[in-house]
């Protein structure tokens, strides 16, 4: 999160790249992108020291639209790739983004392990409860009975609860926002980036083309109760399990050692600041 002192203050629009979003008009992901620009500007992050990483999906197109380093990887692999980047160079701000399918379905196995290792990443999941890019199939967060082309008789699989899942896996920062409220979302992203450890930010980001939940969600979204204690994992879990509303805000926050604090690469080959090493000294031990 280095600031470049010569550079004039960057505005949100300065983080816009030349590639124009290919999203449908009205897609919730526009709100998330706007919040991200806002957050980057608020933190004055250096585009040459920031990497936005994604998997595959509509939401995973986001890195192309941001004027920082970016990497659109393979479907579901955003977290291990982002972890590799962060370990290799902990000075980078690494922001992982993607969809509910990318993160909770094919990538679900990585989430748990990223969370427990606690690399200092911010992971913004654009949850639209549907597969957008592949044209509207059921996703792991789709509601029971959801009818799509892949589930014409209604989905029989109970949806997962990503917030509860992240909390139970030991996440050190967990928040939920709504792309319909980009101001709050930007604040959550700022907090997530500032959090020293893995920050999980579930953003409710509707897909008007295949599952238009804007009104439904707007009606159900409310702030976490004012007395919510974000240092209490059980309280956070209780909020995650609520079905009377969709609470937004910071569910949980805890500071514990990050992965890089153990495993950071200090001998970065391109920075050449490691100890002198002549392999012959190692080889001599085999005599």
């Amino acid at each position: 999160m280095a600031k470049d002192s010569i550079q004039p203050r960057r505005l949100p629009k300065d983080y816009k790249s030349e590639v124009k979003p290919t999203w449908c008009p009205g897609c919730g992901d526009f709100g998330v992108l706007a919040s991200l620009y806002q957050a980057l500007a608020q933190l004055q992050l250096d585009p040459t020291k920031t990497v936005v990483v994604s998997g595959i999906g509509c939401s995973s197109r986001l890195p192309f639209f941001v004027e920082t380093y970016g990497f659109q990887t393979a479907h579901g692999r955003v977290l291990p790739v982002a972890t590799g980047i962060k370990i290799a160079n902990p000075e980078l701000t690494v922001i992982a983004v993607g969809g509910d399918g990318d993160g909770f379905s094919i990538g679900g196995g990585h989430l748990v392990h990223a969370v427990r290792r606690n690399p200092d990443l911010t992971y913004v999941v654009m949850d639209n409860e549907v597969y957008g890019l592949t044209k509207g199939q059921t996703s792991p967060t789709s509601p029971l009975g959801f009818k799509t082309k892949s589930t014409p008789f209604g989905s029989a699989d109970a949806p997962i609860n990503p917030m509860a899942w992240a909390l139970a896996s030991g996440v050190s920062f967990a928040a939920r926002g709504f792309s319909g409220d980009p101001k709050q979302l930007a604040e959550l992203i700022v907090e997530g980036i500032q959090h020293p450890g893995f920050a999980f930010i579930q953003t409710m980001s509707p897909c008007p083309t295949f599952y238009n939940t804007f009104d439904l969600w707007r009606a159900r979204i409310e702030d976490l109760p004012p007395d919510h204690d974000p240092t209490d994992r059980m309280q956070a879990l209780a909020q995650a399990f609520r079905d009377d509303a969709i609470p937004v805000g910071v569910f949980y926050r805890e500071v514990r050692p990050t992965l890089e604090s153990h495993t950071r690469v200090s001998a970065h080959p391109l920075k050449k600041n490691g100890p002198e090493f002549d392999v012959r000294s190692l080889l001599e031990t085999y005599r």
């Binding site: 790249s17 030349e18 590639v19 585009p47 040459t48 020291k49 920031t50 990497v51 936005v52 990483v53 595959i56 197109r61 890195p63 192309f64 004027e67 920082t68 380093y69 970016g70 990497f71 659109q72 990887t73 393979a74 692999r77 291990p80 790739v81 982002a82 972890t83 590799g84 980047i85 962060k86 370990i87 290799a88 160079n89 000075e91 980078l92 196995g109 990585h110 748990v112 392990h113 992965l259 495993t263 950071r264 690469v265 200090s266 001998a267 970065h268 080959p269 391109l270 920075k271 600041n273 490691g274 100890p275 090493f277 002549d278 392999v279 012959r280 190692l282 080889l283 085999y286 005599r287």
Partner: protein, 596 residues
Amino acid sequence: MFVETLLLRMGGESGIDNVISAGDILTLSVARSGYHVHTFRTYPAEIKGGPVMFQLRAGVRPVPSLGDQLDVLLAFNEEAWELHHQALRPDGVLIYDLGEHDAPQGFNGVTYGIPLERLARDLNLRKGKNLIALGALCSLFGFDFQELQATVKEKWGKARPEFVESNRIALLAGYQWVKDHIQEEVPYRLAPPDPTHEPELVMSGNQALVAGALAAGCRFYAGYPITPASDILEEMARRLPGLGGAVLQTEDEIAAISTVVGASIAGVKAMTATSGPGFSLMQEMLGLATMAEVPVVVVNAMRAGPSTGMPTKMEQSDLNIALYGGHGDAPRIVLAARSVEDCFYQAMHAFYLSETYQMPVILLTDQSLSHRTETVPMPDPNLVPVVERLRPSPEEYASYRRYALTESGVSPMAVPGIDPTPFTATGLEHDEYGAPNYTPAMHTAQLDKRGRKFEVVAEALCGIQPPLGCLSYGVPEEEAEVGVLAWGSTAGVVRETVEELAAEGYPVTALIPAVINPLPAQRILHFARNLKAVIVPEVNRSRQFAAWVKAHTELPLISVNKYGGLPFTPAEIRAKIMEFLVTRPTKELAQEVTYG
């Protein structure tokens, strides 16, 4: 009688007889005395218990293979005799545990009973049986006992100082018992070592590979345990933190290769190692590395497949997946290490190629190579250049195009946090800047760019010399009648057999490339141009290497395939060569050489 090589096997019960640790210590001490060594071991299917075997082949000159019939078998129990007696030469030496089991029947060679268990019991050294055996072997075969004592003390003393004394006693007990009870001379003894030959290193293939990777500048490793690649992870975990690097044990192989791709994007030379099942899982991410042009090194230590197969057995059957495993047009550089020493060089080579051409490089080894130890002359890291990837120059900053359609196909790769030129890497087809682009013209142009890089590699590798290039053995190609074309760890046994035959006066030659893709086809055609027969031995059923060579050269090849989980022996290679040899050496020549 003095012999040039001695092949000695110890068989016992895993977890009881400590056969492997005894074998390793004996190997080291023999090597320190100036001999060349080559070991082989088999593990039981069980984690604890079950039969285990260690074999040491030592020689006055290099011993590139595991050899044929055993000269000596030390059977810690009756099962070991049952399992291994067929491998013992009829006039060999059998050693058994006197008092614990009866002298095995039906063997006409020399038999010695040594009361290993009883001596251990008498000395109250429950775990000392293996050291007693080593002392006894030393005494019988005239190995350097001081060296053995010193080696045991140095290697085991540090970890367990409280056992230094009892180890000493155990060694001595075996040594002395033989001195006291066995007067006759053993039929075979190793000739004295060449006094001008400096003792070499003793390493396993996996250890040499890690050293090579570190020498090349690898500073990040991610992996998931799998036999026989696990000790690469373990060795890296021990070494890298001290070098300012990092190791991550990931949740699976997909995460391992993904993390490595991430670390490489961030500018760190990175590697993973696995075996067949894990390698199958890495195929998709390898395609991303090809498409996004990210340098990564992936080691596949092959074992017997398909599926989980036989994790502790060797096979050379993952060549096809290494060459062709990804979807789409995704060519990869494939290297195959040929010996323990070569594991070092090819690991360096893999990084050199991967960083230079910004693409995945697959380095193939196999279970026999990974786990065996060999004497290795001190490698020279300066034989392989250590390079950094091409990055944008300040003049290029203003109009930086990550995937510029350059002539060589290689385009400058900016690194986040280092270069001031942000771009977005992607697995989608993209334009020169990296933005998604699906036009026919751009897809064609970018496929050509990635393909062109590959053609440039082929040219650059043309004519590279050993240690990286093709190894040749035997008589000069133009004088040969039969040639053996081999790859990977089969190199050793081919080298030994061909050198032996050539020394015996037979017109036999061998060629062994390390770079499998791009295949040095011209070199192979040149090799074959005068040969009556080209024999291709490989440890698989489907003749993977022969088919690959044939696709590039249209040479008629004679395949020899073995697929039981074990490497070839010299006798098997020799028999096949003999089938195709017409010319026989003159008698004089043959005799001279057999004697030498």
